[in-house]
Amino acid sequence: MPALIAALEGMLGTWLTQFLLGFTALAALITLNAMFMVWFERKVSAWVQGRLGPMEHGPQGTLQTLLDVIKLLGKEPIIPAKVDRTTFILAPVVAFLPALVLLSLLPYSEDLVFTNAESGILLVFAFGGVSLMGVFMGGWSSNNKYALLGGVRAVSQNIAYELPLLLSTMAVVLSAGTLNISKIVQVQTAGGFGWFFMYQPLALIIYIIAATAETNRAPFDIPEAESELVAGFHTEYPAMGFAVFFLAEYTYMFVVCGVGAALFLGGNHGPWLPGPCWFLIKVYFLLFLMVMFRWTFPRLRFDQLMDLAWKLLIPLSLANLMVTALVIKLV
């Protein structure tokens, strides 16, 4: 491996080699995470419901997702006749592309940071908006009323929950005094300060609820509620179009949980194990919580969903922010 890297550096130069290596690593992370999450989700749902879940392929059915991917790759990509062709084809791409940028912003350990952006947190949420456009493009271009309704719901839900999501992280930003995710992790690991969830428990709760809603996960999955809207915005997408939407969804789950782990749970900080291990453990703990939400809470009705965001979460997070500012000023 080091020999290969040295050979690459000789050919392309240090900078481009680093870029290519980072790109490849993140692409691998996206694929592996999605494959693991699909299997994990099916297993957890099976345990919750007293079933076994996938068991046939590999130990505990671990190879099931790999075979699913091969099946999806072999399927015919159908484009319905009356869709808006260009937008229809572009939609999954637009939904997926920001995922790579977002993954490069997470602090995997002190040394392993792909992009050390000074306003990293804002960058995460800004690029989330790009993928929302992809979802709505898919919903509109499908020329299907269920898909369109799903898209419209996705927009209103994402706009509503982006506010508490941002406001809850701002309380942490205020305490840490920086928008840089790596620096926020450093503040928590520096001598005896402790992780931010101890100081900001309310912000953590608001963050997890809003993050679940931002990623369109149950109990907030009304953009794709199967009992009302067939499959919502991706109704008309077969084969890889569908797969790319799901790849994007699982990557966003990883990203919001990664930001949550970095902001509230000390990122790569922990005893004995190396940094990236701790980071992944924390991320998958938060992901496990999100999966459990899906199988324990019933889906919210649309007006309940909006009430929760505008009447409860936003005022709460604003109050939390003000109290935080006051305490910082006084202490």
Partner: protein
């Protein structure tokens, strides 16, 4: 093969982003469907944010993405509600609307160009994030530019109160609806 320096790549990216911004702007005015126009505008905004990012103003770029993309998504929903259905062919634009629009656009561009060439802007070094960081912008807003900052806050507050008032007035329940709930 000569080593590709980060500066060369950044310059190439800058050129690409400028082309993207202009292409998005052209799409935004030439396409016939409102939804496509908004997508073109979105492309233009993303390109513009990229240019701002490369020129070293990370915060402004991010705010542009956060605010404009959310705004475009909402505008799309309204566009869907108000425009003609997908399957219906759009009528061609009338010359009576196109020509004044072109003249107005050109006039505005000329005005902006004149103001920019005439004005004296402080030069910030490119590719440096420090000059226009969140901290500096925040300090400037609360010291040198406090009056405009407060004025904008009041404008926003008035807009919020206005929208709440409008929403209230139209949401009064009908007597029949009241009976349904009872």
């Amino acid at each position: 093969m000569p080593e590709l320096s980060p500066e060369t790549l950044l310059n190439a990216a800058l050129g690409l982003l400028i082309v993207m911004t202009l292409a998005g702007a052209v799409l935004a005015v030439t396409l016939r469907k409102v939804f496509h126009n908004l997508l073109g505008f979105g492309l233009s905004v993303i390109g513009g944010a990229g240019v701002t990012l490369i020129l070293g103003s990370e915060f402004v770029a991010l705010m542009q993405l956060l605010i404009f993309l959310g705004g475009i998504a909402i505008a799309m929903v309204f566009a869907v509600m108000m425009s003609t259905p997908n399957e219906q062919a759009e009528e061609p634009r009338s010359a009576g609307a196109v020509i004044p629009a072109i003249l107005l656009g050109l006039g505005f561009t000329a005005l902006i160009c004149w103001a920019m060439l005439d004005g004296n802007f402080p030069q910030s070094s490119p590719y440096v994030a420090e000059a226009w960081s969140v901290k500096n912008i925040g300090l400037l807003l609360l010291t040198d530019y406090e009056l405009p900052f407060e004025a904008i806050s009041i404008l926003l507050l008035a807009a919020i109160i206005g929208s709440v008032l409008i929403a209230r007035r139209t949401r009064e329940p009908e007597p029949s609806e009241e009976a349904d709930r009872g």
